[in-house]
Amino acid sequence: MSTTDAPAARPTVDDGFGQVTGRGDSVFRGLATASGYIIMLALAGVAIFLVLEGWPAIQATGEQAYGKDNIVLFVWPLVFGTLLAAVLSLLMAVPLAIGGALVISHYAPRPLAKTLGYLVDLLAAVPSVVYGLWGIGFLAPAILPSYQWLQDKLGWLPFFEGPALSGRTILTASIVLAIMVLPIVTAICREVFAQTPTMHQEAALALGATRWEMIRMTVFPYSRSGVVSAVMLGLGRALGETMAVAMVLSATGIVTFNLISTQNPSTIAANIALNFGNASGLKINVLIFSGLVLFVATFAVNFLGRWIARRGQVKG
């Protein structure tokens, strides 16, 4: 290192193009490159260690697989519950997110838009466990009357069969999930909407389009791939979110589309969080195996989402 401390007496080789090679440079370059590789290693490590610890679960049966005959029968209801909760939450979150993003990018006056954007960031900053606490302590009791109303009026639909005796249902969990997914989808949509070329928008307005027609004709076509990738990333978040579901849902782990009954499907992440503390022996491997399934699913969803986003960018 001493070679670079006194530039006047530096005995280094100068290649004549401003590039000075020296020991300090190679050390620093090595450190930076190593950090880049560490990130790749870490991601590979996550996959490898989960496989190593999850693999023994293949043989788990009976008591070790939480009373299921084999690992597939154990994981399937959890996968179902995870997908159900994620899809429900997206159905609620995506329209709200697109509307919210439009408000920030196109409807609100500039100074107000900044404040509103900050509010959305605040929504993202609230820790998930606090959402869970809010869900079980406030939302679940508060929403129970509307579930009873749904059961009374729409009970003929299989989704609202009931019995609506508790607010801690998969629907409540999905609502909490939707609130948690909302900020990330809103943030990405907002960025994509704001990138629409001003020329396109002004051209539409100059032709006499109303604001909504302008948005429909210029903003939406331009940002279609961006919105799709935002939804994918939101899906990834909803699939992996743990605490809100673990706290809000009173899960029995069955497979049903009945959204407001006392018998609810569980999700992979919530099931791990609730059972990991008491698990021992092969049960831990079983839970880690389900975590591996979750990892693969979210990785695929995120991969697809980012890939669509990249492709959209190149085209844009």
Binding site: A32, T33, L122, V130, L133, A273, G277, N302
Partner: protein, 359 residues
């Protein structure tokens, strides 16, 4: 400018074409909203509905009044535009409702739990009333601090590699893409990774605070890389070239010129990353476990943290559910204050020490 009395031209006679089309007065949205609320409250009182029912009715009425008015006066296209504007604003309001409710609930239910004892006592040998979250606060600071110590050097150096050294090679593209994908790793998977790693090293059933730091680092590194990368890209190339021209080696250019220029942005990013992982629960639940007494050593035994404290207070209520629930809300208030303070600090740093890019 509003001339609601003018009728649309009946065609043909060009000379009589008016220069303005009929428009609703600017207060029309407020007027129809007020009318809708009035009708809804009246109907609600007569039929003895709940407040929620009245609000829903008022909203529906407002969604009918304004577009209908507009349709009669301004035509179909304007009416659709007004309907969409109202819908878009209501989605935003609806999205903000949970935030308001959540903050209100946490403050109202958490504030009574706060006391000197709450901040200075652990839960050791406490049954029922009393006790505090001192041990959990200590645990959160230790684990998050260690995670920061691990993540910041790796994250910042990786970003330097991506921006300064890689020159957009294949490896750099792969790393950038993987960092993006890594931001989507579920936090519980990060916890399982740390657990699986530590089981292979230390044997089954291992729990320690440091494992939590490892898990949090997996979540934190991508955020730090992203933030640093963005900031380094903002540093103008003229600064680097000026430094090279003076014969300064590349690494000293980076350390003495590039990093200080981008410093405020990097610190903002790091602070936001800390705020993000300080509230993480799932990984700590898996690898750090929960504890009732104070533990200063992150390398042995279970360690309590604020998020896990909240979770276990709710899920393991025991014989004193009221005391447990009250403590959970108190801890939630403390956690939110910590996270919001970090966010605020990050924004202040970003604003006060704005990037000195010369633009």
């Amino acid at each position: 400018m509003t001339t609601p009395t003018i009728n649309r031209p009946s065609g043909g006679d060009r000379a009589s074409l008016p220069l303005t089309t009929p428009q609703l007065p600017p207060i029309a949205p407020a007027l129809s909203a007020g009318l809708a609320v009035g009708v809804a409250v009246l109907a609600g009182l007569l039929l003895s509905w709940s407040v929620v029912g009245m609000a829903v009715l008022a909203w529906l009425l407002a969604m009918v009044f304004l577009p209908t008015w507009s349709l009669l006066l301004e035509g179909r296209r304007k009416a659709v535009d007004r309907l969409v504007t109202a819908l878009v604003w209501s989605t935003f309001a609806l999205a903000m409702l949970p935030l308001l409710s959540l903050i209100w609930q946490v403050v109202a239910k958490g504030a009574p739990a706060l006391s000197v004892e709450f901040f200075t006592y652990s839960m050791r040998n406490v049954i029922g009333e009393g006790g505090g979250i001192y041990h959990a606060i200590v645990g959160t600071f230790l684990i998050t601090g260690l995670a920061t110590l691990i993540s910041v050097p790796i994250g910042v150096l990786a970003a330097i590699y991506l921006v300064e050294y890689s020159s957009e090679g294949k490896v750099a593209k792969a790393v950038t893409f993987l960092v993006d994908v890594m931001t989507g790793i579920p936090s519980i998977v990060a916890g399982l990774f740390a657990f699986a790693l530590f089981v292979l090293i230390f044997g089954p059933g291992i729990r320690m605070g440091f494992g939590g730091s490892i898990a949090l680092s997996v979540l934190m590194i991508p955020i730090v890389v992203r933030a640093t990368e963005e900031m380094l890209k903002l540093v103008p190339d003229e600064l680097r070239e000026a430094s090279y021209a003076l014969g300064v080696p590349k690494w000293r250019t980076i350390v003495k010129v590039v990093l200080p220029t981008a410093l405020s942005g990097i610190v903002t990013g790091i602070t936001l990353a800390i705020a993000r992982v300080a509230g993480e629960t799932a990984p700590l639940l898996i690898i750090a476990g929960s504890a009732t007494s104070l533990n200063w050593n992150p390398f042995s035994e279970r360690m309590a943290t604020l998020p896990v404290f909240i979770f276990s207070s709710i899920t393991e209520q025991g014989r004193y559910p009221e005391a447990q629930t009250e403590r959970a809300w108190g801890a939630a208030l403390v956690l939110i204050i910590i996270v919001m303070a970090l966010n605020l600090i990050a924004r202040l740093i970003g604003r006060v020490f704005a990037p000195k890019t010369g633009r």
